[in-house]
């Protein structure tokens, strides 16, 4: 096979088509303190300033060698645009949600998503950043843009405990709030594609069996994901944290292109369940290995993931801000050696 661009390699891999070697990227957040110091674009400013955000994102491609540029670094953009308050965090702490506008004992009516939704909060910052990145890196390198998914959005609009209880007590409200989150994601993700993103990463940690009964996932979340996948105009990778073995067979039916898994979910098992219907991205451990382990451990774990048949080699979850650069680089080295 002749040499292909990084973009083509990633797209092909996500479609399950032939590639010269498996891509190595991060579907999840890539901002680390080491990169911030190298490129002089730091959190929290890099969450707010398109130039700094672009600079730090490109650094993960240039310094680590990940074959994509990935933005942003938090799971608060849509939530902020929908009315949650956000704490900025600091250099090694991500922004987080500090208020839940719909928290109440009984379901409150939802404000319609306004026509100027794409001008709310930091959405314009992200769209601008993608354009800046594209200007800087050209057409051959893919851009991955992520956001919080509908379950996570609904859980933060309400407050997660309330949302959880409503899966039993107020099912209709759960469906309504989650669909509302989905509508926001669809509008935002399609704008990201239009701005130049090649892949959309749908991050929905609250949809994990750690929190939600797989039966409820099947009954309530799956139809919403399916509706989203019909409306999203580009490649989609869904990421859910924790051990998601119990919902793999449902994720297979979403219509998305790939599922990003953590090390707690067995990659071989995922491949077996997915057959050729949907691809797997993962799953080098972010806490125990990339953050707290050695380059050698990272290298070995990357080889194992490739041996088990990962379609895209990637960290299992967002990079911990204090992850050493050498560990991240060892993933790329392992992939290169594997296909020598």
């Amino acid at each position: 096979m002749c040499k292909i661009t990084m973009k083509k390699r990633l797209i092909n891999a996500l479609l399950g088509e032939e590639v010269d070697k498996m891509p190595v990227v991060s579907i999840t957040q890539t901002g680390t303190e080491a990169l911030m110091d190298i490129c002089d674009a730091k959190w929290p400013e890099a969450h707010y300033d398109p130039k700094l955000m672009a600079k730090l994102a490109i650094a993960a491609h240039k310094e680590i060698g990940y074959e994509a540029v990935r933005v942003p670094y938090c799971l608060t953009i849509l939530l902020e645009a929908l009315g949650c308050q956000v704490s900025k965090g600091h250099k090694t702490r991500q922004p987080s949600i500090t208020s839940h506008p719909y928290n109440s004992r009984e379901p409150l009516p939802l404000k319609p998503i306004s026509n100027d939704f794409l001008s709310k909060g930091r959405i314009p910052v992200i769209l601008k950043t993608i354009k800046l990145i594209r200007e800087e890196i050209g057409e051959d390198i893919p851009i991955i843009a992520g956001s919080e998914g509908p379950v996570t959005i609904a859980s933060d609009l309400l407050e997660v405990t309330t949302y959880m209880k409503w899966f039993i007590k107020q099912k209709q409200a759960v469906v309504k709030y989650t669909n509302y989150g989905a509508n926001a994601v669809i509008e935002y993700a399609n704008a990201l594609f239009e701005a130049g993103a090649d892949v959309f990463a749908l991050l929905d940690p609250v949809a994990s069996p750690d929190l939600i009964n797989p039966r409820d996932f099947n009954e309530i979340v799956l139809p919403i994901y399916q509706r989203m996948s019909k409306k999203l105009k580009g490649k989609v990778v869904v990421h859910i944290c924790g051990d998601i073995t119990g919902i793999l067979s449902y994720l297979k039916e979403t219509g998305f292109d790939a599922v990003s898994i953590e090390e707690k979910t067995d990659l071989e098992k995922a491949k077996e369940i997915f057959e050729s219907k949907i691809r797997v991205v993962g799953n080098v451990a972010t806490a125990t290995t990339l953050f707290n382990g050695t380059p050698k451990q990272t290298y070995d774990e990357s080889i194992i993931a490739l041996n088990k048949g990962t379609d895209v080699l990637a960290p299992g979850c967002g990079l911990a801000p204090l992850s050493p650069l050498e560990n991240c680089k060892a993933m790329v080295e392992a992939r290169d050696d594997y296909f020598k």
Binding site: R93, T161, P209, L211, D216, L322
Partner: protein, 220 residues
């Protein structure tokens, strides 16, 4: 005949309490707790053989992945509703050994507290005395509280790789001050290796094993 009937009723109420907790039926557990007091059932009995029994079934089902967080949160509501009614009526028994005291919280920088709340609830129902500090708690606050409350255990959870870094200072502080509290840790990014590395006395990967761990550390 009269005596037999009373015993049957008492049994029924305890069984009903357990069931209300398992099903997460707060109305029912409230009603039965009041009924228990009216019938002069020993509140200690109602708690241990009603609420606790129910919660033990809940833990079992949770461990077997037959029950999930939403169901457990409703069970907790039902249990606490009954406890709130029963506890003020507990007779103070000075012959019984005081329960171990546990200071619990979520590591600094972390606002995720569902996991901590599950652990707290399971420990609560297992009979431990709990001091809940809440979430996003600075290392100094754990140390201060452990000292002030003369705690036997400090339990800390972290859900993020950034916040897990804030556990080690707690352990160090407790050792430096020679406090008797043992520190147990848990949460998604934490492994038993990491727990050992930072000098924790124990690690648990879910609420049920947390109770087991604490019981083991307390020599039970």
């Amino acid at each position: 005949m009269w005596v037999v009937e009373v015993i049957t009723n008492e049994e029924e109420i305890l069984k009903g309490l357990a069931e209300a907790v398992i099903k997460g039926n707060e109305e029912k557990s409230t009603e039965l707790a009041q009924e228990a007091l009216k019938m002069r059932i020993d509140p200690y009995d109602a708690i241990m053989n009603g609420c606790s029994k129910g919660m033990n079934v809940v833990s079992d089902l949770y461990e077997k992945k037959e029950m999930f967080v939403p169901e457990i949160l409703l069970s907790a509501d039902a249990m606490y509703a009954a406890l709130d009614i029963l506890r003020p009526h507990l007779k103070v028994d000075t012959t019984v050994k005081k329960p171990a005291k546990i200071v619990i919280g979520v590591a600094q920088g972390d606002i995720h507290d569902i996991g901590k709340n599950l652990v707290k609830m399971m420990l609560d129902v297992a009979g431990f005395e709990i001091v809940d500090l809440g979430r996003d708690i600075a290392p100094e606050a754990y140390i201060e509280k452990a000292n002030e409350a003369n705690a036997d255990i400090v339990a800390i959870s972290a859900l993020m790789t950034t916040s897990m870094m804030n556990i080690e200072p707690v352990i160090k502080g407790i050792k430096d001050k020679n406090l008797k509290a043992k520190v147990v840790v848990g949460g998604a990014p934490i492994s038993s290796e990491f727990a050992e590395e930072i000098g924790a006395d124990g690690y648990a990967d879910d609420a049920v094993s947390a109770v087991r761990l604490v019981k083991k550390l307390m020599g039970g």
